[in-house]
Every structure is written in C-alpha cells, then in structure tokens.
C-alpha cells in the first residue's frame, strides 16, 4: 500500500482471513444474530442452533481472529460483540461501486434510446 496521502488516511490491519471467515453458514448466522441482538454470551449464541457450544466457540474464535467480532468478556462469561469495521468497509465499497453502475446504466440507456 502506498504511504498516506491526504489527511484522512485509513490504517487497516491485514484482512486476509476475513472472507474465509465469512464463508460458513453458521458463522454468518452468528454475525446476523450479533448484529440484530447486540452482544451475547456463548450460551445465548448456542441456544436453538443445534450446534454444540464447543463448535460455536470455535466459530467465534475464527470470527474474532478475522476481526469480525470481539470478545467483550463479562466477569467469568465470554460475551461476543460484532466488530463492524471490515463489513462496513466492504458494504460502503459495494454501495459506491453500485452507484457507479447506476450512473453507467443510465448513460447506456440514454445512448441507445437517442437514435430511436
């Protein structure tokens, strides 16, 4: 990455594991749950999933290593919260690219309809 240019430089940690971490249905469910309900304990996150607590813990560790959740331990209980940075960047980026395609599609429409 080139050195900082302009005032608002973004310093981002290396992101290699992020999308590997997202490529699993259970982990995506965990993220959606944390996004909807806020910080939750492993016990709560395991409820009704049909997945063992141990497996849920491993999935949470994977998500934590990728920077997608953080351990917000409360006393003796491990509680996890969503860490939105990477997802937020990915979403903002996609929004931006989508807006560019909207503009390009409008130009295409105008272009082909001009000679009708």
């Amino acid at each position: 990455m080139s050195p900082n240019r302009g005032g608002a430089a973004l310093r981002l940690p290396d992101a290699a594991p992020v999308f590997a971490a997202l490529g699993d249905a259970t982990r995506l469910r965990l993220l959606r749950r944390l996004s909807a309900d806020g910080p939750l304990s492993i016990t709560r996150l395991s409820e009704g999933t049909g997945v063992t607590r141990q497996a849920i813990t491993r999935h949470l560790d994977t998500l934590e290593a990728a920077g997608l959740v953080r351990d917000a331990r409360r006393g003796r209980e491990r509680v996890f919260a969503l860490s939105v940075k990477r997802l937020e960047i990915a979403r903002q980026y996609l929004d931006h690219v989508a807006a560019q395609w909207d503009a390009a599609a409008a130009r295409l429409k105008e272009f082909v309809e001009a000679d009708e």
Binding site: S2, G6, A16, K85, I89, A106, F111
Partner: protein, 150 residues
C-alpha cells in the same frame, strides 16, 4: 438485518431499443467507450486483453479488460481490476472482478442486467483505498469510515 453479501452487484434496466441496437452499444468497443466513458485500443474479441483509459471526469485512469465471453445479443463478459485508479500501483497480480452484461428481449425493448461479482476476492485494504483515493464527494464517506477504522 440484511443478508451479508459484499461480493456482487446486480443492476437491471429496461431500455426502449431493440436488442440488436443494445448489443452493438455493448459489444462494439467504440460504442461501449462512448457511453461508459472509456477509450479502448482495439475491438472486443474473446480472450483478448484490451487496454484503455477511463475518461470520466475526475476519475481518469488506465484500465485493462480481459474479454471472457461474447454470446451475440445475449452475453458480454469481461474481467478487470475494479477501482484500479492509482497509477503507482501494479494491480496485475491481484484478483479481478467479472462484469457481465446480459440482454433479454422484452415488450417494447430490451432488458439489460449488469452483474459485477468477485469483490470478496479483492483485498479489503484495496477496497478501503477506493475511499481514500477519491477526494471529490467523499468527505462524508471518509468521516463515516474514520469512525470504524480509527
């Protein structure tokens, strides 16, 4: 919460023009360049790598398209490096996204579906750079990001 999908964009528009006309606007490199805002150095043929310049004001940069598929009046697909706008960076070893234009005849014209996919293979740092690189109209976005990336 919406489903988490950061990998693809899909846009569908309907235009009042015959499919053959729309196809020419997409598959003819000169016509494509005219509406997209791109100057290209050769015609589109399957397997070809086409070099050019994006000419959109405020977003000028070199661009390279690898033409993947041409199915007349149905599908045109190419790969490129999305947002490869920093001339000091060699993007050639990085993953590309796939852009598809799919045409379909409808009553009174043509439906065009534009799909770009593969963003999840693009390093998140590159995606973040799209915000950093574009000074114009980005102040708000950057402020939002700073909150998350500080």
């Amino acid at each position: 919460m919406q489903a988490i999908s950061t990998d693809r964009i899909e846009k569908r528009i309907e235009v009042r023009a015959p499919r053959s006309r729309v196809w020419r606007a997409i598959a003819d490199a000169t016509e494509f360049g005219a509406w997209f805002g791109m100057k290209l150095d050769q015609p589109f043929t399957e397997g070809a790598t086409i070099r050019g310049e994006i000419t959109i004001s405020g977003n000028e940069h070199a661009v390279q398209l690898q033409v993947e598929r041409i199915e007349p009046e149905r599908l045109f697909a190419y790969r490129w490096h999305p947002y490869a706008i920093d001339s000091k960076i060699d993007y050639s070893s990085e993953p590309t996204t796939l852009v598809e234009f799919r045409l379909e005849e409808i009553v009174g014209g043509t439906a065009v579906t534009i799909i770009e996919s593969g963003f999840d293979q693009i390093p998140i740092t590159r995606r973040a750079e799209a915000f950093r690189m574009n000074d114009r109209g980005w102040a708000g976005q950057i402020k939002k990001l700073e909150r998350y990336v500080a």
